[in-house]
């Protein structure tokens, strides 16, 4: 397939400017999210969370950043230096790239690739390298176990994640994100593609390795898993990558299943942001509520339950699409 970039309404400079803006907004959003998540968890868990610095404790973000920036940039002598440094950058870059295909409104997007969805999947797959290499390069047994778990988890969940989205593609007839949103004018994909949504949701949590699927990290088992040896800015990068991943997955979920920017009265961008916000809150709620399955149980769930479910969904969607076309 030839890659086609759809003409955007903006000039080249405007596009670059907007790209930079999204870059900063995503990083800023991820930073604020670290505070927001702690506050929200706090409220749900009968406690306060960080509430001391600035209004509602929002300056905690700045304090954390300052702390991480000024920490000793230490690389364990037994680690593989190059790989150890490369790992945290990989996840941030990959996640950032993922944001390029997100349509925030009919006019606001960086690029509209005709393979947008595939591009997104490719970028999230790249992020696996970060966890894997980080775990391997640390030369620490807990990190190694974390890396191993991550490899197994990602390979399995990558498969369902891709397949779960193919139903959406079938309904739309396009990989372009904008087309997918436009196709949802009559009905959001979450209704006909509820199975796809379900699988994508679970695969998405597994991809962003958050509780309940934070097995590569699993602090109660592997102390801190793949990032046991990381500290300072490199640790901050890993965290940034994780939160970027969370935002990205939420953006994708909204775009693919909840009608993207579509909605009455309010401007499209506002609708988009509101929806993403709700999905993020849902992810945080999941983290607060659910225990962690065992690693082999997660695999069993994936291959024995999720894969057949996805295939059934694909088959069903295919039949319906063909039948509708006559």
């Amino acid at each position: 397939m030839e890659v086609v970039m759809a003409e955007s309404g903006m000039s080249v400079f405007a596009t670059i400017g907007f790209g930079l803006f999204i870059l900063l907004a995503a990083v800023g959003g991820a930073a604020v999210l670290t505070w927001f998540e702690r506050r929200l968890l706090g409220i749900w868990q009968d406690r306060y969370g960080p509430n001391r610095l600035g209004p509602f404790g929002i300056l905690q973000v700045a304090a954390d950043m300052l702390k991480l920036l000024t920490k000793h940039d230490w690389i364990p002598p037994f680690a593989d230096r190059m790989v150890f440094i490369f790992a945290p950058t990989a996840i941030v870059v990959a996640m950032m790239m993922g944001f390029t295909v997100v349509p925030f409104s009919p006019d606001l997007y960086i690029i509209d690739l005709n393979i947008g969805l595939l591009f997104f999947l490719a970028m999230t797959s790249l992020a696996v390298y970060s966890v894997l290499l980080g775990g391997l390069a640390s030369n620490n047994k807990y990190a190694l176990l974390g890396g191993l778990r991550s490899a197994a988890q990602m390979i399995s969940y990558e498969v369902f994640m891709g397949l779960s989205l193919m139903g959406v593609v079938m309904l739309t007839g396009s990989f372009s994100m904008r087309d997918i949103v436009e196709a949802q004018r009559d009905m959001w994909n979450c209704i006909p593609q509820f199975l796809g949504l379900y699988v994508f949701l679970i695969a998405g949590i597994a991809e962003s390795h958050r509780l309940p699927f934070d097995l590569p990290e699993a602090e109660h088992e592997l102390t801190a898993g793949f990032h046991t040896e990381y500290g300072g800015m490199k640790f901050a990068m890993l965290m940034l990558g994780e939160y970027l991943g969370l935002i990205l997955i939420s953006c994708m979920m909204v775009t693919l299943f909840f009608g993207g920017w579509l909605g009455p009265w309010l401007p499209p961008v506002v609708w988009f942001v509101i929806k993403v916000f709700i999905v993020i809150c849902f992810f945080i709620l999941l983290r607060a509520a659910i225990p962690r399955p065992r690693y082999d149980q997660l695999m069993t769930l994936g291959w024995k339950f999720m894969l057949p479910l996805t295939l059934v969904n694909l088959l069903g969607t295919g039949v319906i699409v063909l039948w509708m076309e006559g």
């Binding site: 807990y142 778990r149 962690r292 690693y295």
Partner: protein
Amino acid sequence: MLNAEVTHNNTANGTIVDDLIARFGAELFVIQPTPDFTPTLWVDRKNLLDTLAFLKEKFPMLLDLFGVDERMREHKPEVAGDFTVVYHLMSFTPCEEVRIKVAVSLPDLDVPSAVSIWPNANWYERETWDMYGVNFTGHPNLRRILLPPTWEGHALRKDHPARATEMEPFSLDEEKQRQEQEALLFRPEDWGMQRATDDTEFMFLNLGPNHPSVHGVFRIALQLDGEVVIDSVPDIGYHHRGAEKMGERQSWASYMPYTDRIDYLGGVMNNMAYVMAVEQLAGIQVPERAKVIRIMMAELFRISSHLVFYGTFAQDVGQMSPVFYMFADRERLFGIVEAITGGRMHPAWFRIGGVAQDLPVGWDKMVKEFIDAMPARLDHYQKMAMDNSILKQRTVGIGEYTTQEALDWGITGASLRATGMDWDLRRDRPYGGYDQFEFDIPVGSKGDCYDRAAVRVEEIRQSLRIIRQCVDNMPEGPYKSEHHLATPPPKERTLQDIETLIHHFLSVSWGPVVPAGEASFPIEATKGINNYHLISDGGTTSYRTRIRTPSFAALQQIPLISNGLMIPDLIAIIASIDFVMADVDR
């Protein structure tokens, strides 16, 4: 009969001694009378294993095994040598105990090992070797257990200093440092592990002493094939503070705060075990009101300890939130404890012969508020944690053991009841006034991680029931005994007559002089059977304080139930057995 509490022990006295004499002949045994009327028999080491094997049929559990240094003891039985090894056995239906003692003298400190009869003798014998240098012949792995391998001497011997100030100033020269470092090196062979087989090279992982899920400083050396635990060897002693040695220098009354810190989640439950044993020795009768106050406080602490267990159990299988709710409840509970005792985690509030003060005005309102609110919260937690399908997946069928295994390994308390054994000291041999209360004993069926948690959760509800009965039926009367050894003595009349003043002065400055003898009193503590074996030589301090804790036994059993499972299962098992490292190492 001085004390109504002690009648129960008496029942075994006739029968088991008769049985033994009928089997082996009277000349083999010397019977030692004790204030607690637990049959105590001295036997020669030649006949030890036969005697123990015979007794095992009737007494399935080796409750405790420990040493005593008899060399400085004035009131010792004639048969005693330099050292004594005590085997404390227990049966369940009927609930009876018996002590077997073996005397050994320097330089020949050999005693045959009982590991072949009870597997849990393993760690106890290691501890006795560590502390006294008693050599157990035939022991598979007689190494130090609580003290570091480089330690010199045997710490509980009377000639070993108790304080650092009694020793030479410490210095670490290079040679010594090299030795210490050498001792820290991990060699799988020393731990009985193989480095590799023909087709697999194993990974060795030190889980602990510092790890988020080992609940303190506890180390398990793991032999791993991928994430599967091939073999695991628990290593303890990182929390050892010499609590038993301290018992030999503190007065009978001033040892109370140390007991609080044994099972540091159990608070006054530890005081309970200790004062019961002292009261046996001294023959003190506790007034009714004090009994009910004690039971109420002990049950409050049982709830507190179980709440911590519940929260951390959910947390260790990866559930983030429950622990916060349960700690908030525990905080409310500590509010009550604080109002009544002035302390929170370690109130040290029980006294020999009663409790420290009477209950404050308005205590019943506070307690009622708490017990009224708890059941609804427990329902909520049930839905949140215990009914969660992932939590069940992680814990059902994991770390199973049978009742027989539990008895062989000295497992007591909720972990024993989880196997289906319907037995609780509070009901089956009521002490301290528990016979006046109505409550049920929750029992599990499979003895897996889930059952162990479920039993404890239900115990919280039963404890609430007991506390409600305490509140509704709190008797009037004194909160401390009038007995002359009750400490501190009642002060009211001290300014009226000189005799009382003198007694008060001596009892407070020196401490009470407890009559010579030895006694122990097992109680159903938060984590299982806690038992203080106290020997008095007729002085103001204990001659030997032996603390039998439930956590020690629980940790020894970990390899049995976790080998062959995965690391996350091991974490679930550790979370489910409810131990506290201070309770293990003392």
